[in-house]
Structures are given as C-alpha cells and as structure tokens.
C-alpha cells in the first residue's frame, strides 16, 4: 500500500478539549484527522480507515489504553501508536512500549510538541514500511536466485558431462593416455563445480525454509554403515584405514536419512583429503538418554588452532601446502546447517600435525519430539 500524501491521524481520547485541540493543531499542519471518544469506537475506526498514526489516551473509562494498544498493534500493524498520558510512570511507559507503542506525549502538551511527535511518528512509519518492502524484496530475490541457479547453472553442467560421456563413447578407442587423462580431469572439475552448486543450493534452501526433508526414526548404526560402505573405496584407493568402533545398540534418532548420510560422507570425505597414506579414520559412538554422539577422528594434518573457529563458515578454507586439495569450502557449512535443522550440534577438535576429530551430537528420538525445529523455517524477528 502506498503512503497517502496526507497522513491520517486518529485520536482516541475521552476529553473533548484534547480531541478538538489536537484536531485543530494537526489539521492546520496538513494532516487529516479522525477521532473517537472511547476505545471500542476507536478500534473500529482504526480497523476500517487504517490511519497512519493513532494517538491513544492511556487512561479512559471503559476499555483501557493498554488494551487498545495491544489490539491495534496486532490488527493494524503498519499504524504507528503514540500514547497520551497524564501520569507517565516508567512502568506504564515500558509496558506500552513492549506492547508496540512508538512514543508518548505527556499531558499537558503544546501544539508544537504534538506536531513534533506526530512528525517523528510519520517518519517512523515510512521507515517501517520501507524496511518491510526491502525485506520482502530481498526474500523474493533470494528465491528467484535459487530457482535461477538450479535451472540456468545446473543444466549446462549436466550437458557438459553428457558431452564428455559422448566423447568417450565416440572416440574412446582412438584416445591416447594423455587425452583420456585430460578428459577425466575435465570431468572431475565439472563434477566438483556441480557439487559446489548443489551445496550452495541446499544451504540457501535451508536458510529460506524450502529444504525438503523427511523426519523419520533412524538408526544411526545403519546410517554409519551406509556411509562407511560408500567411502570405503576412496579410503582403500588412498591407503587409509577406515574403521568403526561402535556399541551394539544406539537409541533411535529422528531425522532425514539422506541429508544425514551426506553429513557423514562429507566429513569422512574431508578426512580422506587431509589424511596421508597409512593414516586412519575412526568412527566411534556413545549415547545417553538424551543424546547420541558420534566422533569421526582422523590422523591427518589437523587444523591450526587460529583457523578452527571459522571452518564451518561458508567458503572458508585453510590455505596451505595442501592447496591442490580442491574443495568448495561449503561442505562443512552444509553439515552444520543440516545438524542445526535436526536440533543437533557439530563441533571439532584438532591438533596440527596429529589429526582432527569431528563430533556430531544428535537428540534421541524422545527428546527430539519436544525440541526439534519442525518447520525448518528460520524465525524472523522484526
């Protein structure tokens, strides 16, 4: 809705002299004025006419000013409320502010004071509307950017990989070793670009509340089994020992199987990247009534202490001699967001030169019923 060029002010006060005085002062300064002598009538006018500003006397017979404020800030949220009070105690002022008033006018007041307060209130209202418009615009842009990325960026990547497949099929037997290697490397780089786009999309979707995830009872032992099975070939290829040391049973947790599988494979995948040959990656788990904790330890390069606080940040990567280990810097951000979505936690401990341990903490099924963020929609405070 556009601001009307003439701001509309509603005065709710039981004293005729105040209503008349305000009306005169405000009309003289170019405002349009409505008034009501008691609360119910005032609320009705406010709901119908949606004024820009309402001046409300705190102490009136019938419905109290405080109640009016509560109802109006809920029903006509764009309207800016100013209370008129003859006894501005701190307590009542604080209460009124908490309930949504913007400012107050102590009685008695002069026409100039009135105009100054109303002018400020109008500015505040414009700002409020502008802020909301910008926020909506930002959300809309984020949404359309997600759609844009998923359609316009992913399809060319898919097609390029399809061409590489076609090239291998068509010319496979005519290619020498160097050519084959070039093609393989192109394929790998495109795949990692796809992974980056994928992670980025998922992170955006989680942030925006459109990440689709199933909440089902899960057995972490089974999930760990799937993830180690998936990662076994790469560990073998790199000469790293992947082992598990798990209890026979773990309490059920509640969450998204595929999302959590990706958390595990991401962390194990990282461990393989930063662990030298003959190293070890170990998965252990423990539980109590409230939490299941999984630890994924490696005997790799470790992470410098001053870098540790940042490794879950988007695009953060520890630079060093391992520069050839390419990645997006989004893997751990994704893991963290997924864990948060589940009401769980992720943490890391590491000693440079000795290795790193990633800790995943899940609420047990019983607990998660009570506390998990079921909506996946971030709570917006404004």
């Amino acid at each position: 809705m556009m601001n009307t060029p003439t701001p509309l002010v509603l005065i709710i006060d039981d004293e005729p002299s105040i209503r008349d005085g305000c009306r005169q002062a405000l009309e003289k300064s170019g405002y349009a004025v409505l008034d009501a002598e008691e609360g119910d009538e005032g609320i009705k006018i406010a709901r119908d006419a949606k004024p820009d500003i309402a001046l409300i006397d705190l102490k009136m017979p019938g419905i109290s000013g405080m109640e009016i404020i509560e109802i109006l800030s809920r029903d006509v949220p764009d309207m800016v409320l100013v209370m008129i009070t003859g006894y501005a105690t701190i307590v009542s002022a604080v209460e009124a502010i908490q309930k949504g008033t913007y400012d107050y006018l102590p009685k008695p007041f002069s026409p100039d004071q009135l105009r100054a307060v109303v002018r400020r209130a109008v500015e505040h209202r414009n700002l409020k509307i502008e802020t909301r418009r910008l926020r909506e615009e930002k959300e809309r842009m984020e949404k359309s950017f997600i759609t844009f990325v998923s359609h316009e960026m992913r399809s060319p990547l898919v097609v390029i990989r399809q061409y590489i497949e076609a090239l291998k099929a068509v010319a496979g037997d005519r290619l020498d070793r160097d050519m084959t290697e070039i093609i393989e490397r192109c394929g790998a780089r495109i795949q990692s670009l796809e992974t980056l786009v994928e992670h980025w999309l998922d992170i955006s979707r989680i942030g925006e509340g459109s990440f689709a995830w199933k909440k089902e009872p899960l057995n972490l032992l089974q999930l760990i089994g799937r993830s180690t099975e998936e990662m076994a070939p790469i560990c073998e290829e790199k000469g790293i020992l992947l082992k598990t040391d798990l209890p026979d049973q773990l309490p059920e947790i509640f969450g998204d199987q595929e999302g959590l599988l990706r958390v595990f494979t991401n962390i194990i995948g990282n461990a393989t990247k930063y662990t030298p040959e003959n190293g070890r990656i170990t998965l252990t788990a423990s539980s109590d009534d409230y939490y299941v904790t999984v630890r994924i330890s490696d005997t790799g390069t470790g992470i410098p202490a001053d870098k540790l606080p940042f490794i879950f940040e988007p695009f953060f990567r520890v630079k060093g001699k391992e520069e050839r280990q390419r990645g997006s810097g989004l893997g751990l951000t994704f893991c963290k967001r997924i864990m948060e979505l589940h009401g769980g936690e992720i943490a890391v401990a590491s000693t440079e030169g000795q290795g790193s341990t990633f800790l995943l903490k899940f609420l047990t099924h019983m607990r998660s019923e009570q506390t998990m963020d079921h909506s996946a929609t971030p709570i917006r405070q404004f």
Partner: protein, 133 residues
C-alpha cells in the same frame, strides 16, 4: 542382416539430445530426436521406435508425464520399453525422482547426466534379448 533398432529421444535441450544421440549411435542404434512433447508423440506414431527415452523436466514438469501417458495409451506403446530421464534438480543429488504408484509403467529412471555404458547397458537389457522377426 537385421535392421538397426530404433530409439526415440525426447528432451528439450538440443545439446543433451546431440550428446546422447552420439552415444546411442555408437551403440549401434538408429536415433530419432524430438525437442518437445508434441513432436515426440507425433514421431512415436510415424517412427514406431523400439524404445523411447523421455525427459521428465521439459519446459513444464507435466510435459514429460503427459508424453508418457499418451504413448502408453496407444496400442503401439503398451509394451514398448520407456525410459525416463530425471535431472536431480528436485532436491539434492540423492532425492531423485521416483515415479508414484499410479504412474504409467516406466522401465527405467535414468539420472542426468547418464554414463554411456550405463545407458547402453539398460537399453541392451530391454532390447538385447528380443529377436527380430
């Protein structure tokens, strides 16, 4: 000497059509291309292929589905192997498309991009055993 088996490929991405055509021809098939659902259904009638591969994500999501239903509703399409292509676009790489139970029969769902050997393998499984009369 048997005639080459015919495959109809329906996808709205020209490059995807071209790349996949190369793979299929390398596999010894005769390939027909359609860039949209309507053309696809018409070509089905005129070409009478031995197998069709249909992209699920053309232009509008429903188009692939409607092509599939139309082909399955025809006498010539009741039993012909039909493959569906799905981009992993729906949500993350692991949540690929699974046809719901009330879907017309689909012989395979292939993920884009599809590896040459996988594609030829799936096709051979469907067409390989059949003797030409």
């Amino acid at each position: 000497m048997t005639a080459k088996k015919r495959i109809l490929l329906i996808d709205d991405d020209k490059d995807f059509l071209f790349a996949t055509k190369l793979i299929l021809e390398k596999g010894g098939y005769e390939v027909f291309l359609a860039e949209d659902g309507k053309t696809g259904v018409e070509m089905w009638k005129s070409v009478a292929p031995d197998l069709a591969i249909i992209d699920m994500m053309m232009e509008t999501w429903g188009e692939g589905f409607s092509v599939l239903s139309k082909i399955r509703a025809m006498d010539t399409g009741k039993d012909t192997p039909l493959f569906m292509l799905s981009a992993v676009d729906l949500q993350g790489p692991y949540n690929s498309f699974e046809p719901p139970p009330e879907f017309p029969k689909v012989n395979a769902v292939l993920q884009k991009p599809v590896k040459a050997e996988d594609l030829l393998g799936y096709i051979a499984r469907e067409l390989g055993g059949k003797k030409m009369s």
